[in-house]
């Protein structure tokens, strides 16, 4: 394995591409989410998207936030060559939802709200509460792990340049036309 600090910087673009691909799938391929977790009814974009354009000499950062935030500006940034570096998402099953943000460079999760029981009111309730909560954390972690694995398998295949990249480019182009 490579030196991890070198690998962190060398391959951080994979995380940004992963988030950009996820956004594309949110609008064009929800079936992929159900393949990763049959309980997933939908994956939706949340209230924050951060994009970075590293094409020029300086890094241009665009942050879109707010519950009613229009994503058009973000899509225009994609058109200009930006990638998603942070994405708020909502993972929905039939009855529950998981809200979270994920960073491309680290795959770290933040602002994660999971469904589950109310806070324990007695020491006896602590263990079942923690086990339930842990199950909810890992449901999301496993989902992301499976989606990232799917992404990497596609990313290292010839289909990435022959199918996926053209499809994402077409989607980005449609954004401009819309």
């Amino acid at each position: 394995m490579l030196d991890l600090s070198v690998a962190y910087n060398r391959y951080r673009f994979l995380g940004d591409e992963f988030l950009t691909w996820l956004w594309y799938l949110v609008e064009n391929g929800q079936d992929a989410f159900r393949s990763a977790d049959p309980d997933c009814m939908a994956l939706e974009i949340g209230n924050r998207v951060v994009l970075e354009n590293r094409k020029g000499k300086s890094i241009e950062r665009i942050t879109i936030k707010g519950d009613d935030a229009g994503l058009e500006e973000g899509k225009m940034a994609l058109k200009k060559g930006a990638l998603v570096t942070e994405l708020a998402l909502v993972f929905k099953t039939g009855d529950h939802e998981w809200q979270f943000s994920i960073k491309g460079e680290s795959l770290n999760l933040s602002s994660l709200k999971v469904p589950g029981p109310a806070l324990p009111q007695s020491p006896e309730e602590m263990e079942p509460f923690l086990l339930d909560k842990t199950q909810q954390f890992y449901k999301l972690i496993d989902f992301i792990k499976k989606m990232y694995k799917s992404f990497i398998k596609i990313r290292i295949s010839s289909g990435w340049s022959s199918k996926t990249t053209p499809a994402i480019k077409k989607w980005v182009k449609m954004v401009e036309a819309a």
Binding site: M1, L2, L4, A7, Y8, R10, Y11, R12, F13, L14, G15, E17, F18, T20, K55, L78, K79, K80, G81, L83, K103, G104, E105, S106, L107, N108, L109, S110, S111, L112, K113, L119, P123, M126, E127, L130, L131, K133, T134, F137, Y138, I141, K145, Y148, K149, I152, K153, R155, I156, W160, T165, I168, K169, V172, K173
Partner: protein, 204 residues
Amino acid sequence: MGILSSAVSITHYLVEGKFEGTVTEIVAKGLKKNAIPEIDEDAVEKAAGWTSFETPFQPKFEGSSFVFGNLFIFSLRIDRKSIPAKLLKKHLTLETSKRLAKTSRRFLAKDEKQALKDKVTADLAVRVPSTPSVYDLLWDYENSSVCFFSNLRSANEELETLFKRSFNLSLIRIFPYTAADLQAELTDQERDVLLGLSPTHFSN
């Protein structure tokens, strides 16, 4: 933000290696040996160590207090003493004046100034209480997985060092490269392709 918070941050790790022996006993030993020390009456500015998830200000690792079902749950505590710059300046000025008067000199040498600053800082550190920061940790030993409830770089670095020192096991942080290399079940050939990847541009 800890496990009990309504919104949490998680940094995910894989644990490299397994114990030989009774796992709970080994973990308990590592926790006790590296429990957070009290520094409030010491001239120490920072301390880091393990503490109990349920009683973070009274570390106790007796019995199976850190075992919840098939999980180990405990916390990393980092205590820091923050000496206000103006307070340090005041005491340093007073001490410098005393020293100059005592030696009948007009200036202190550079080394003397630094030594005096270190002494004043140490004296103040004894009098200033530490501020604790507590970060929860959830360890699924069977699956070699750790969820650390903070994305703060300094806390994560402290965790990685302390975990290795306590249990002689390494934590591997999951980020784009490690997730691909360790979790995507790649063949050697696919791993070679991964190493050669370069960024894609989606703009036309």
